[in-house]
């Protein structure tokens, strides 16, 4: 199939492993799904310590279940990417550990306090879920199938995050203040989740033309702000003075003042070159290397091993 045919046929779940897809499509889809899968893994890295920190048994169970789901989502997404025939799961995981795999900007920053957890578990996941809902209509069928299951599960994550936020903002004054401080720290990163508003992204046009992406970043940003700014306010969180975010009365649309956001940092993050990137990727690399021996042992059992039967001889 040539690119013109792909563009002409592009639609929800239009293409699958049985289709002869052009290299441009396979590469673009791999890049997009690999990014998504990597983000699931790296997000789970940030959240894992809070299984231990959780201040009740039920919260601990919920955090463990959420991290488990995220790894499950990574598993589904790497499969959807593998089906494109460009890279295997092992290659993609190795790239992630080597610092060559890209992932969501928010997961390059450290998360150290419980008050920060809803910034990811409610706002970032809420933004991600908004995007994922639109990807049920992506043109790569295995990706859409992964979205069916991910979107099914994800509602629990957002509600869990919101319930933590509600608990914090109805807690002691000092806790509310720390939560507000965490919000102010994370809010610019959350706004950058959808990229710059004047995005001249080189990937977008092609991805949209072949139906991989079904909604522009700007439309997603609008939908996110519509839903989540009132939520923040409902719980008593105040939007910081900067970055300026407001609703334009004339166009009835949200405006995010681009000059108030640190785009140099954003692009450094995008290149995996931010300080936090090195820390997070380093963790991934070390833990992956530490279990390398297990994968070696099960894939090619070395000399001198005994099978249960042989041991009786």
């Amino acid at each position: 199939m040539d690119v013109e045919t792909v563009e002409a046929r592009a639609g929800p779940r239009e293409f699958g492993p049985g289709d002869d897809m052009p290299e441009e499509y396979r590469k673009a889809a791999t890049r997009m799904i690999q990014f998504h899968a990597n983000s699931e893994i790296m997000g789970a890295y940030l959240e894992r310590p809070f299984i231990r920190e959780a201040p009740s048994i039920d919260r601990k169970l919920a955090f463990s279940a959420k991290v488990q789901d995220e790894i499950g989502h990574g598993q589904l997404l790497y499969r959807a990417a593998e089906e494109l025939g460009v890279k295997t799961r092992e290659q993609m995981l190795d790239e992630l550990a080597r610092g060559e795999g890209k992932f969501l900007n928010c997961f390059h920053y450290p998360m150290e306090r419980w008050e920060e957890t809803p910034m990811i578990a409610f706002f970032v996941d809420g933004a991600a879920m908004r995007r994922q809902a639109t990807l049920k209509r992506t043109s790569w069928e295995p990706y859409a199938h992964a979205m069916d299951k991910i979107c099914f599960e994800e509602g629990f994550h957002i509600k869990h995050g919101e319930s933590i936020l509600r608990e914090l903002m109805t807690g002691p004054r000092a806790v509310q203040e720390r939560t507000q401080a965490a919000f102010e720290e994370w809010w610019p990163r959350i706004l950058q989740f959808f990229g710059p508003t004047d995005d001249q992204s080189t990937h977008h046009d092609f991805s949209a033309a072949v139906g991989l992406k079904t909604m522009t970043n700007d439309a997603l940003r609008q939908a996110f702000l519509n839903a989540y700014v009132p939520k923040a306010r409902q719980y008593g969180l105040e939007l910081p003075d900067e970055p300026r975010v407001y609703r334009d009365a004339e166009t009835d649309r949200w405006v995010v003042e681009q000059d108030d956001l640190d785009w140099d940092e954003f692009w450094t993050v995008a290149k995996n070159d931010y300080d936090g990137s090195h820390v997070q990727i380093g963790k991934r690399e070390r833990t992956q290397e530490a279990v390398e021996w297990v994968r070696d042992a099960i894939e090619s059992p070395g000399q001198g091993g005994v099978t249960p039967a042989a041991a009786d001889d």
């Binding site: 048994i57 039920d58 790894i71 021996w293 994968r295 070696d296 005994v306 041991a311």
Partner: protein
């Protein structure tokens, strides 16, 4: 049925509810529950260290599930202690680390990447757990009987998971070496699973548990030793008294690993100024457990 079984112990389920117990019986029931709850709570706390760090994505999802099962079991046992006027706060979050009665096996940290430790620990623990829980099926305390079946329902998966990995790793020379190292380190601590509390005699005499721990230990050894030997592993030999670590867990003494872990999992609770532990689920008595 073991000859050690106390024949004049009360009939299964005959002790009545929490308010029907005399002080002596109540103390014995609490001691048994405390061991069950703390073992499951702490083993789960350690298992979660493997989340996002498992050897494969599938193993990661699997160990997370096992951790949730065990923590859910701890929740059920702590809930039975709440019948006696406790709550989750004083049992866990505002407890003293010395209040905990788990075996030292479950509190030891994992070295990064030491999946063999996780496999061996789980294998030793899950077989112990099955035996102890089976001995509770006909407990004289009916609240335990009500819940033990549901808890046992989730245990075969844990045992099979550990056994499958054990066999798989033993097929590789390097894997077997790591299993051996883990077994040498963990086996003495596994023996503390069978260490008695000061209520052991009462627990057995009152039929709260149908088998004494030293009988369970021999049953356990009869299961695990041949399997481990069959995989080419050497089980540490010697008198239990010589093998046992200094800290026994069941008497409130613990290894150096315990207090740091305790502070790690309780510090956010204090940092947030909490006075109660938030529940997200209905009380087990309100749910179909």
């Amino acid at each position: 049925m073991s000859p050690d079984r106390s024949t004049d112990a009360p009939e299964p389920g005959s002790l009545g509810g929490p308010d029907d117990l005399d002080d002596e019986t109540r103390t014995a029931v609490e001691a048994e529950l405390r061991c069950l709850a703390d073992d499951d709570f702490v083993v789960a706390e350690r298992y979660t260290e493997w989340q996002v760090r498992g050897p494969t994505l599938e193993a990661d999802i699997g160990i997370g599930n096992i951790a949730q099962d065990e923590l859910g079991h701890a929740r059920l046992w702590y809930d039975l202690l709440e019948d006696f006027g406790h709550d989750e706060t004083d049992l866990v979050w505002e407890a003293d680390p010395g209040d905990f009665r788990h075996a030292t096996l479950v509190e030891l940290p994992f070295e990064t990447g030491d999946w063999a430790d996780c496999v061996v620990r789980s294998y030793l623990y899950d077989h112990y757990e099955e035996l102890r829980l089976e001995a509770l099926r006909e407990s004289s305390y009916p609240r335990i009987v009500d819940r033990v079946g549901k808890v046992l329902g989730e245990e075969p998966y844990h045992r099979e998971h550990a056994e499958n990995w054990l066999e798989r790793l033993a097929e590789d020379a390097g894997g077997r070496r790591r299993l051996q190292e883990a077994l040498d380190r963990l086996y003495p601590h596994a023996l503390t699973l069978f260490e008695p509390t000061d209520q052991e005699d009462a627990i057995v005499a009152l039929g709260i548990r149908r088998e004494p721990l030293d009988v369970l230990r021999e049953e356990w050894r009869a299961i695990v030793v041949p399997v481990l030997a069959g995989l080419g592993l050497e089980v540490p030999e010697g008198d239990d008294a010589d093998l046992l670590p200094d800290a026994r867990g069941r008497d409130g003494t613990h290894t150096d690993a315990w207090e740091p872990l305790f502070h790690e999992f309780t510090h956010t609770y204090h940092d947030l100024g909490r006075e109660e532990a938030v529940s997200l689920m209905p009380d087990p008595d309100e749910a179909d457990v």
